[in-house]
Symmetry: C2
Subunit: 210 residues, 2 copies
């Protein structure tokens, strides 16, 4: 099938672009460099991606797909348990196995596009909403939590996770990194336990909760 080679070539080009961005930074990647990296003339790159914007959109699709994949094994392992084990949940959500698979530099370079490209903004948003829904569904499996506001809890958890990675990316020393990481994990624990407490005491003890 002709479509096969086309799809594979496009994948190959985007993967090459991603590798280059990782090494040299997105701002230093050009069509010629991508071609050289893959051993093809720049005109072939442009045959599949007629302009640079499409190339960037392709890269973003790729990255967001990867980003989603990272959470898949984490979620699927958690899904096997009948109840939500807060400790396990937090451990998995903050696990940085993916650091080897995923480059935050490219991710944030692309993230910056959301401020001047509406369609990129939408793509980013969709992913982030999707992750929250997945977590909500997971929380809903817990017999206690299900009677609370799991959607709200998922939002609260993810805002900590995302804020944490934004901040943790600035850390150099492993010790400091681990220390802060522990702190944010605790912060998520507290969110879960507070929600459980709220449900079991039948009434909100704090201001939040709808």
């Amino acid at each position: 099938m002709k479509n096969t080679i086309r799809k594979e070539r496009k994948k190959e080009i985007i993967s090459g672009m991603y590798e280059l961005s990782r090494r040299e930074g997105l701002e230093n990647v050009s069509i010629a460099k991508i071609g050289k990296h893959l051993g093809m003339p720049p005109s072939l790159v442009m045959h599949y991606f007629p302009n640079k914007r499409l190339l960037i959109l392709g890269l973003i699709d790729h990255i967001l797909h990867q980003y989603q994949l990272i959470y898949k094994p984490i979620i699927s392992k958690l899904e096997k348990n009948p109840r939500v084990d807060p400790e396990l949940l937090v451990e998995r959500l903050f696990s940085r196995e993916w650091n080897l698979l995923f480059d935050d530099g490219v991710f944030f370079s692309c993230y910056a596009f959301i401020f001047r490209d509406q369609s990129i903004k939408k793509e980013y948003k969709n992913l982030h909403v999707k992750l929250r829904v997945t977590l909500k569904n997971l929380l809903d499996k817990d017999e206690v939590l299900v009677s609370g506001d799991t959607g709200l809890l998922a939002e609260k958890i993810f805002v900590v996770i995302e804020g944490a990675y934004y901040y943790l990316s600035m850390m150099d020393e492993a010790r400091e990194y681990d220390q802060k990481l522990e702190l944010f994990k605790n912060q998520v624990y507290d969110l879960i336990y507070a929600e459980i407490n709220r449900i079991q005491s039948g009434k909100g003890m704090y201001s939040s909760g709808g």
Copy 2:
């Protein structure tokens, strides 16, 4: 003084660069464009910033300085109160007055550099640590909170703020934005009230706090 004109010219150039980055995106800014924008030959730009890296470092300095300035009036207003009013604190920390003064697009474009430039990473980190220390000092003024772990509380509050702005930047509709914003504000309230409760009950009710 000769140094005066030099400093002012450098400022002028960086400001021009910032304006251009805001309008067209950092990746589309060139030395020639900066010169054109300011009515000076590119060679003059390079007289003050002998290469592009220095220009980018200058821009980042500028942005981080601006970012810090945003918090200044917020903090100074809060400092006048003898006790910490959680509602006022949260309202001010999440106030988006600065949106008119500050461009998140340029900020995140520059943020992406931390992953490949150690000195930029350090600069970003310094600023973020500084903001946390400022908040801690503010919390220490409160007669109740001072006997708790205000440093920890400040970390927890900022991770929500930063995660919130990362996520909120993806929102298009004002209603959705406001709704999420409210949610994250509540999340910060809860952190403060939980800490107050913890102190007043003399003992941690959750796992955190040490």
